[in-house]
């Protein structure tokens, strides 16, 4: 039963899994026409605009595209540094 654990855990290395992962990325790109570098540029610009008004943590900002059925959603997670920040 040498293949037992492989068959239980090996799914992530299977080519079908890679096909799905690659398709997930390529479909988001095809549907939105947004490349990773454009996303990075947008992120920098968003940080710049928001920083003018409130104090945020630029290194912790996350911008990503989420899929919701056939709709794509741009999700920005921007942690705010409060004035009375504890810890």
């Amino acid at each position: 039963m040498g293949g037992f654990m492989d068959r239980l855990t090996g799914k992530s290395r299977k080519s079908a899994y890679q096909a799905k992962e690659r398709l997930q990325l390529v479909l988001i790109h095809d549907r939105t026409n947004l490349s990773q570098s454009v996303l990075e540029t947008m992120k920098d610009e968003i940080i710049e605009v928001i920083s003018r008004h409130i104090d945020i943590a630029p290194d912790e900002v996350r911008i990503e595209i989420n899929k919701d059925g056939r709709q794509q959603r741009l999700i920005a997670d921007i942690p705010i540094r409060g004035p009375k920040r504890r810890g």
Partner: protein, 267 residues
Amino acid sequence: MAGKVVTITSGKGGVGKTTITANLGAALASRGQRVVCIDADIGLRNLDVVLGLENRIVYDLVDVVEGRCRLRQAMIRDKRIEGLALIPAAQTRDKTAVSPSDMVRLCEELRQEQDWVLIDSPAGIERGFRNAIAPADMVLVVTNPEVSAVRDADRIIGIVEAEEKGPAQLIINRIDPEKVQRGDMITTEDIVELLAIHLIGIIPEDDNVIVSTNRGTPIVLDGRSKAGKALRNIAGRLLGEEIPLMDLGRQDGFFSQLGRLFSGGGR
């Protein structure tokens, strides 16, 4: 009641559009429906050979559109299957010989006397594809369980939606359950999740298909073929019947794999 116009398309070539169109036509006609199949792939016609009607062509789609014959004269009746007819594509012209509005006009006329008008779309997203979807009441997108076919299907689904012909419905063709089981073929569930549209049918890989294409006899007439059964099921769903998806013998979920491991079998 006026007939329904269904376009079968895919983006990528070679995924099985023509075979599926021919067989859905044959399956619907053998259920007593009046069906006409239109080959919209002008310059690269093939629906005629898949249906085994290539020797009986006199007039074609372009002859009808350009007024060289009456619609009825271009319809080749299948002598084996009552109620099935084909309008072949022209072979010596290109896709610009027909326009989307020509197709809409033609289908308006056909739907008065037919229950179903099935249009076999050419591959690609250009004029021929636009012609094929222009008159559609329903669009069936065919894909294979491979990266390039799924990607192209996604593009097509997007265009069909933008043209307000959606939501398209999905057919996954040529599934090999053993490859799925080995983890070397993307699963039906994953494709449906990626494309996020309704699945109307899955068709297994089946060696009988090449034999039936060689002979020009629709596979749906072969009672023993799995692909034939899968295609008859899709025809049944088009008729509004509730038919569960075909069990392809092997499940790919974690728990069924686990079950197989402990039962010690590969069945």
